[in-house]
């Protein structure tokens, strides 16, 4: 029974929710819980934390009683590490380059990096796509919508 348990998706799902619930419950006791009549800021999260822990344990319980399914692999069949990384890295580039060099650099790097996540993407194609998005995008947000975000800056 226990050897299959670690391969079940609900085992991890339930575990995650239980931990989260327990964490919230513990953390909420650091705020003033007050009484039921005069509830402090900690009371509502305290109740929610207990409810979440309880639900987490129940999900965990379903993992115990149900037989192992065919599709219990948590990660999908095709592991797109590069794709996932690029999608997350795009906005991060936007934050860093946007903060130091302005909207144009942020936009270009965001589109360029995230476009590289596709399996068929090439450096040239991605750069071209990034350029095609950056120019109209910056015009739209900077001139039409007047977003207070300088197009270019040099700020360390």
């Amino acid at each position: 029974m226990f050897d299959t348990l670690f391969r079940k998706r609900d085992f991890y799902a339930g575990g995650l929710m239980t931990l989260l619930g327990a964490g919230v419950t513990l953390n909420s006791t650091t705020y003033n819980t007050g009484t039921l009549m005069h509830m402090g800021p900690g009371m509502f999260p305290f109740i929610l934390g207990i409810v979440l822990t309880f639900i987490g344990v129940m999900i965990f319980g379903t993992a115990l009683v149900t037989p192992l399914g065919d599709d219990e692999e948590i990660l999908p069949k095709n592991k797109e590490w590069l794709g996932w990384f690029c999608i997350l890295a795009g906005p991060v580039c936007f934050i860093i380059l946007g903060h130091y060099f302005g909207m144009a650099a942020g936009t270009f790097s965001c589109v360029f990096v995230s476009a590289l996540g596709d399996r068929t993407a090439t450096l040239k194609g991605s750069a071209l796509l990034a350029l095609c998005i950056t120019i109209p995008g910056c015009l739209l947000f900077s001139y039409v919508l007047q977003l207070p975000f300088p197009l270019f800056r040099w700020g360390f």
């Binding site: 619930g21 009371m43 929610l48 639900i55 999900i59 095709n78 797109e80 906005p91 946007g98 965001c110």
Partner: protein, 518 residues
């Protein structure tokens, strides 16, 4: 009462026909339709991405535009599912069953034409329902005290999370997570910062735009990257004149549309059963009633008309509790409520009397918008079909840019872009663990009001937790909650064979194109 309704409606048309409101409605429908057609972009992603654009507009215009985006995107999704067999939005999954075979037979244009007509019929009925039911609901709801509001919200949250797709237990877990996310920030009464981890940017709470774009933008892109096969466009050559259905097709569709509309509006009355369930039930019913049930799935025009009508009538019906009680039925409605709150408008029963321009303007704009949709789609179908061929590898990087700049523009704060990335990563992990993140948004939007009313109810009752059962109206809601939970347990334990006929609801989960749940 009818006279009053007509006066209000007249006023609403006055608001909706103001040039700038009309323009925003048009922009919303156009952009929503355009983005909704793109494969892999469902209404939730579309609304979240376009939400930041509405911040600069006055509340009425903003809400008209968002509503326009919503039904525009839904209609765009129908095009995508009929011509490409790709349900970008779950309610359209059943439309595919008969819509795509029709396309293969070269009648895809007619199927689209029927879709236009049936969505208009369904929506019109839903709007009529909204006109008459909302004021009644409001008069009832104004008598509610904090205890009643609290148990009603509990019912809404439970229904929204357990009746959606996937395991009900996980749905409730997600709702609780949403409620907890809603707590982040300063406490409303004492100002104590909660769950901010000492980060000053979090004192105002988690930004709804960041949450929505993380969950329905970044997490969905991560799920779909490299998973989408090349779009097969050999059937998509639809021209303007193909849209006209034949006399026989029209004759067969009418009764199906009316049945679908009725089923949709019934489903809308039960909280939590959104358009997805409505469309599945109506398709199953239509199949049962039909004299030739074996032909369903091979291109029956009724199989397109019925679910489309029921989807649209149920969607309009979903606006009733959202606007009159301030309790959204699904994530899309939660987003629209969130947009209202960003505009500084408090949702709840007082909305209709305090902001009649918003409510009646919205009602009137539904009609105007739906007519615009028909008018837009007829000549522009060729362009929409071209949009279908845009490959995903160009689409998601561009969408990511809109995500970043959209989140940034809400508060001009780079920190929130980072917030979106983190939420997106967590959202993807939750997706991998079989959690459906839509209820998070529901909990998040209702959370602060839920806590406020809960505290108030307990204060008034002097700390007596039984107050929720002592008040009769509240007791009814609590009773319904119990019925819902017990019913779910019963259904789960019995493993029913007859659950919505043999339509594979679960097959949606394996379709990477299914961008989001109801």
């Amino acid at each position: 009462m009818i006279g009053q309704a007509f006066t209000d409606l007249w006023y609403g048309f006055g608001v909706a026909f103001e040039p700038h409101n009309l323009m925003w409605c048009f922009v919303g429908v156009l952009v929503g339709n355009m983005v909704g057609v793109l494969p892999g972009m469902g209404p939730l992603a579309t609304i979240s991405i376009l939400l930041p654009l509405t911040f600069g507009i006055k509340p009425v215009g903003a809400i008209l535009m968002l509503a326009g985006v919503f039904y525009g995107a839904q209609y765009g999704g129908a095009i995508c599912s009929i011509l490409l067999n790709l349900p970008c939005h779950p309610p359209h999954a059943v439309t595919c069953l008969d819509g795509f075979p029709l396309t293969k037979q070269g009648r895809g244009g007619a199927a689209l034409g029927i879709t236009v007509i049936s969505s208009f019929v369904g929506a019109s009925w839903g709007i009529t329902e909204m006109i008459f039911l909302s004021p009644i609901l409001v008069t009832v709801a104004l008598k509610f005290g904090p205890a009643e509001i609290c148990s009603l919200m509990l019912l809404g949250l439970l229904a929204g999370s357990t009746l959606a797709r996937g395991s009900p237990l996980k749905g409730v877990a997600m709702t609780v997570c949403g409620l907890l996310l809603g707590i982040v920030g300063s406490d409303i009464e004492t100002g104590t910062p909660r769950f901010t981890f000492g980060i000053p940017n979090l004192f105002d709470g988690v930004e709804i735009v960041a949450l929505a774009l993380g969950l329905f933008g970044i997490a969905e892109f991560m799920k779909s990257v490299n998973q989408l096969s090349e779009v097969d466009t050999k059937y998509t050559n639809v021209k303007f004149k193909d849209l006209r259905p034949t006399r026989d097709e029209l004759r067969r569709s009418w009764p199906a549309m009316i049945r679908g509309t009725l089923i949709g509006s019934l489903c809308a009355l039960i909280p939590g059963t959104g358009p997805t369930i409505a469309s599945f039930i109506s398709y199953a019913t239509e199949k049962k009633i039909s004299k030739t049930p074996e032909k369903f799935g091979t291109g029956m025009i009724e199989g397109v008309a019925c679910p489309e009508a029921s989807t649209h009538s149920s969607v309009q019906g979903d606006f009733i509790p959202t606007m009159s009680l301030g309790i959204p039925g699904d994530a899309v409605m939660a987003l629209i409520l969130g947009a209202l709150m960003i505009q500084g408008i408090v949702p709840g029963p007082q909305l209709i009397s305090e902001h009649p321009d918003i409510f009646w303007g919205l009602v009137a704009s539904f009609w105007i918008g739906n007519i615009m949709l028909v008018v837009l789609n007829v000549p522009m179908i060729g362009i929409w079909v071209k949009l279908l061929t845009i490959p995903y590898k160009y689409l998601y990087p561009s969408a990511l840019f809109f995500v970043c700049i959209g989140v940034y523009s809400t508060n001009n704060d780079m920190f929130q872009v980072g917030e979106t990335v983190v939420i997106g990563l967590v959202g993807y992990l939750l997706l991998l663990l079989d959690f459906h993140p839509a209820p998070i948004l529901l909990g998040f939007v209702l959370g602060p009001r839920f806590e406020e009313n809960f505290r108030r109810a307990m204060l008034i009752s002097r700390g007596d937790a039984l107050v929720f059962i002592k008040h009769p109206i509240s007791a009814v809601f609590v009773g319904l909650c119990v019925v819902l939970i017990v019913g779910q347990i019963y259904v789960r334990l019995r493993k029913p064979k007859a659950l919505v006929d043999a339509i594979p609801l679960t097959s949606l989960d394996h379709n990477p194109r299914t961008a989001e749940e109801a």
